[in-house]
């Protein structure tokens, strides 16, 4: 039997040792009426080679030549060292560090991870990861409400320029706690409408969510927005692309006082697209809110000999101790991906990271310039951007994407489904992975649509 080492002789010896005559006897406490003979539809087991061949055929169907989809999940080059190290058995098959003396590797990596994310976002503290970007935003919103003493309401201003899936997830995850999500329109520049904000300020609210860049790839006026929220007695929740933070002003430096919470998706930092996961959410905050941070947190301490070591700390907030009153129900997080982020950031450093961001910008600018001469589509917004552009076609996006897919080119994300006001619009992403030839090929393919 695969992965199970027991020989018949060993099983017999073990049964004798227990005083049982068969393994079936060990299930005697289960009523016979509930016992089944097997699983419907499951055939005989495959060998590793058979499984490999079957899956190779399936995987081969899904290969593309070029990818220009972003929409929250970004294609970047991943240096070989990252996954070579992260998939070492001692990292890959380790467990949650509940026995810290046996887990100093994982604990130190998590501490380094927290430090790096805090540095990247210019915030005071970070936790050891959440599931992914949308759920991280949900947790940040719930946290902001907990951090507001004597809150008279549970109103959160959630701009439409935040990822549509993030907004849907936030709704599902926060509505059971009666959180009121208020939509804020974007203006003709694709940025959060200041006019709409002023209208909404008439009612009290807990926090404003500010994306950077926003879902449309456009840069928001973060200093203004951050100050505006604080002036209105509210907190600021930043949802940011961590790679972009090597180039753009980080949340901790927004406005006069900086954002109160910063969250987002860490997939851009060394994690492959992988058909959607596993990814990794991060959540950072100002020091004064640390006790309300959900999830695990690694901290420094010393051992009996005074030697430096690392432990999970502030556990009293978590589900296994606080139970119904925990800051969150989260238990399993994305530790392996935190390891990946850490190694990637250590390898690239601030300089390497900035260059990736800058190359993304350069390539996207090239596409933007090329578009000026195109007839079949145009740039929808002429605003500052980071690695994504909104292109408007003269025909439905679905047709364009279908045509491109036939050439194994992923053209972009169909915005018309989630933004009725952006009919015939596609969100195209260009990262550092694209060469000039790739872009030429893309442009030509678009022209032929």
């Amino acid at each position: 039997m695969p992965f199970i080492p027991h020989t018949q002789a060993e099983v017999a010896a073990m049964l004798e040792s227990i005083g049982a005559t068969s393994c079936e006897e060990l299930f005697q406490e289960i009523p016979d009426a509930l016992k089944i003979k097997g699983i419907d539809g499951l055939g005989p087991g495959l060998t590793e080679m058979q499984a490999w061949r079957l899956m190779q055929t399936l995987a081969a169907q899904d290969q593309s030549k070029l990818n220009f989809i972003g929409a929250g999940c970004y294609e970047h080059y991943i240096p070989a060292a990252v996954w070579e190290l992260a998939t070492r058995g001692e990292f890959l098959t380790a467990y949650t560090p509940y026995q810290p003396e046996a887990s100093q590797g994982t604990l130190q990596v998590l501490y380094e991870y927290q430090s790096m994310l805090a540095a990247l976002t210019a915030m005071d503290v970070a936790n050891a990861s959440l599931y992914e970007g949308a759920t991280a935003l949900s947790e940040a919103i719930l946290m902001a409400i907990r951090c507001t003493k004597r809150a008279s309401n549970k109103r959160i201003l959630l701009p439409k320029s935040v990822h549509p899936f993030y907004r849907q997830v936030v709704k599902t995850m926060t509505s059971p706690q009666a959180v009121e999500l208020i939509e804020v329109e974007f203006d003709h520049n694709g940025q959060i409408s200041k006019q709409k904000l002023d209208e909404l300020a008439k009612q009290e609210f807990i926090a404003l969510v500010i994306p950077q860049p926003n879902f449309l790839g456009i840069l928001e006026d973060v200093d203004f927005l951050c100050d505006w929220a604080h002036q209105n007695g509210a907190l600021v929740i930043a949802t940011v692309n961590p790679l972009a933070m090597a180039l753009l002003k980080p949340p901790g430096e927004w406005g006069t006082n900086g954002a109160d919470f910063a969250c987002g998706e860490g997939q851009s930092l060394g994690v492959p697209l992988a058909s959607g996961g596993p990814y990794i959410g991060f959540l950072c905050c100002k020091r004064e809110y640390i006790r309300q941070l959900p999830g695990r947190i690694a901290g420094v301490t010393t051992d009996l000999d005074g030697k430096r070591g690392f432990v999970l700390t502030l556990q009293a907030r978590e589900q296994h101790i606080r139970r119904a009153k925990a800051t969150s129900n989260i238990c399993t997080n994305e530790s392996l991906l935190a390891t990946v982020n850490t190694i990637y950031l250590a390898l690239m450093g601030a300089k390497g990271l900035k260059q990736v961001a800058v190359q993304c910008h350069n390539n996207t600018s090239y596409l933007k310039e090329a578009l000026r001469t195109m007839s079949k589509f145009r740039l929808k917004f002429d605003s500052p951007f980071f690695h994504e552009l909104v292109l408007e076609f003269q025909k439905p996006v679905a047709e364009v994407l279908e045509h491109l897919a036939q050439q194994k080119i992923q053209g972009g994300f169909d915005l018309s489904i989630y933004y009725p006001e952006l009919g015939n619009c596609v969100l195209c992403c260009v990262t550092e992975t694209k060469s000039k030839q790739d872009l030429e090929q893309f442009i030509q393919a678009l022209e032929k649509c």
């Binding site: 899956m55 929250g72 990292f91 380094e112 238990c331």
Partner: protein, 483 residues
């Protein structure tokens, strides 16, 4: 040393950077970062050495026996990992056109189906990213069901007092009040207390079977009837599925909705605490509320089911459908096990646990539930050793890691004093189990003759016992440039 402490100013990865000098002046200055983030400045070889050596400070399934109860630390098959990493899957964007998604979607569709069969449920959503996430979903579905039926007075969720902490925490996150029901001395839920707690305010009951005590809940059908009779629904926590997989289905026991833990039962790697996978399975009544997206097969083509196809869905709970890499690993694992392999898993998991249990009794340890069979796990209590020698469950745990075996789960469930929850799993050989028994015998002797050795443990690891009080008082979770 931390990686930061190994930095030298102006080191940067030349092999990762081309020499281009690029102009970003079209971005308004006020939006640009002024000072670079304080990230390490180290060479590639330094990175390789630093993290390789850090990994060597870890215990892992690959290197150590890990009998952690309720965690199912079974072998993470390397072939599965290799196959799941095929470029077609690894490089595919989650929002790719359907034309380049059929391979992945076929795996997902078939996984949805096989999990439905394994659980005896009607339909499966692969979206939840961990067990706790799945619990939130299941409870949110129960909430949606009652609301759809105009049943707005159901404000309470019941859980056994020995429930895993995520159960009450998830119910709370869903806006419910949580009420705990006591367990009897023989490990079953107290039915009288349950009857007294049930009423028109009951939204549902969350149960694990086998329970967190490692015991089969013998009254499960009666419990199901009681809860259903007041209009409540039953949630199954699938953490302990390893004990019954291929033999009993939670759907047949009377559960309405449940989650599975792919990182437990289905051998996906724990990675130091995650990623996980917590698919939710539901019966016909609750299936309409499952989160989207799911995969369907229409005229030979795989398609995404969204909120348009599932009008009663609780909605999206993730950006993409589940932790795809984890889903693939679970699917490949199931393919490799096949019909017989799945049944063999529960068979040997239960054999291994009973073997350890009986032999620990022979050595002189005390069981928490001596009249019950072990399922895939069981509990011993070290209260006697604590009273006699002042050596507690924590001391024993630190002593065993000193011998290269990871300690079992300690002090959970909360209802048994000085407890050890032991789960060997089916992938451990008799040799490994016998070594564990040998060590346990030595420790018992040591507790009587040289208890200091246990109290001082560990002595052989990179650090000795760590000051957790200090970590909570002098909070330092981010490196500030000095220690």
């Amino acid at each position: 040393m931390l990686i930061f402490e190994k930095s030298v100013a102006n080191r940067y990865p030349k092999s990762q950077m081309s020499a281009e000098d690029i102009d970003c002046s079209d971005i308004p200055n006020k939006l640009l970062r002024k000072t670079p983030p304080k990230l390490p400045e180290v060479s590639e070889l330094q990175v390789i050495r630093h993290y390789s050596r850090l990994s060597q400070k870890n215990f892992s399934i690959d290197t150590n026996f890990y009998p952690l109860g309720s965690c199912t630390m079974k072998y993470n098959p390397r072939g599965v990992h290799k196959i799941a990493s095929l470029p077609g899957f690894l490089n595919r964007h989650p929002f790719s056109h359907l034309q380049q998604s059929q391979g992945f979607m076929q795996c997902a569709f078939e996984l949805q189906n096989v999990l439905a069969h394994i659980t005896g449920m009607n339909k499966v959503s692969l979206c939840p990213l961990a067990g706790a996430h799945g619990e939130f979903v299941g409870i949110a579905m129960i909430r949606a069901y009652h609301q759809a039926h105009g049943d707005l007075q159901r404000t309470e969720i019941l859980v056994p007092d020995n429930a895993h902490g995520t159960n009450p925490a998830s119910a709370s996150m869903c806006g419910f009040k949580v009420r705990e029901i006591a367990t009897n001395p023989d490990g079953d839920i107290n039915l009288d207390e349950l009857r007294a707690a049930l009423g028109s305010q009951t939204a549902g009951l969350m149960l694990t079977n086998p329970s967190t005590l490692g015991i089969y809940e013998r009254n499960v059908q009666q419990i199901a009837d009681l809860v259903h009779s007041v209009g409540g629904l039953l949630y199954y926590d699938g953490a302990n599925l390893n004990a019954i997989i291929g033999r009993v289905r939670p759907g047949d026991m009377g559960f309405d909705v449940m989650h599975l833990n792919l990182h437990k039962t289905f051998a996906t790697p724990h990675g130091g605490g995650g990623p996980g996978g917590g698919p939710v399975a539901a019966n016909a009544s609750l299936a309409p509320y499952l989160p989207v997206p799911m995969v369907s097969l229409v005229d030979g083509q795989y398609k995404w089911l969204t909120e348009l196809d599932c009008p009663n869905t609780i909605g999206r709970i993730t950006t993409c459908m589940g932790n795809a890499g984890v889903l693939l690993r679970a699917y490949i694992y199931i393919l490799m096990l096949g019909q017989e392999g799945v049944r063999r898993v529960s068979e040997i998991a239960v054999l291994n646990a009973n073997y350890l249990m009986r032999n620990l009794v022979k050595i002189g340890y005390t069981l928490a539930y001596p009249s019950r069979m072990a399922t895939h796990e069981f509990i011993i209590t070290l209260s006697k050793q604590y009273k006699q020698f002042s050596v507690n469950a924590l001391d024993f745990a630190k002593r065993i890691i000193d011998e290269g075996v990871h300690a079992p789960t300690i002090y959970f469930p909360l209802t048994v004093p000085e407890c050890w929850l032991i789960e060997p799993t089916e992938t451990e050989s008799k040799q490994e189990l016998d070594n564990f028994l040998r060590l346990m015998q030595e420790f018992l002797h040591e507790a009587a003759t040289n208890p200091e050795r246990l109290k001082e443990a560990p002595l052989n690891l990179p650090v000795k016992r760590l000051d957790e009080v200090k970590a909570a008082k002098d909070i330092n979770v981010v490196w500030s440039g000095s220690m």
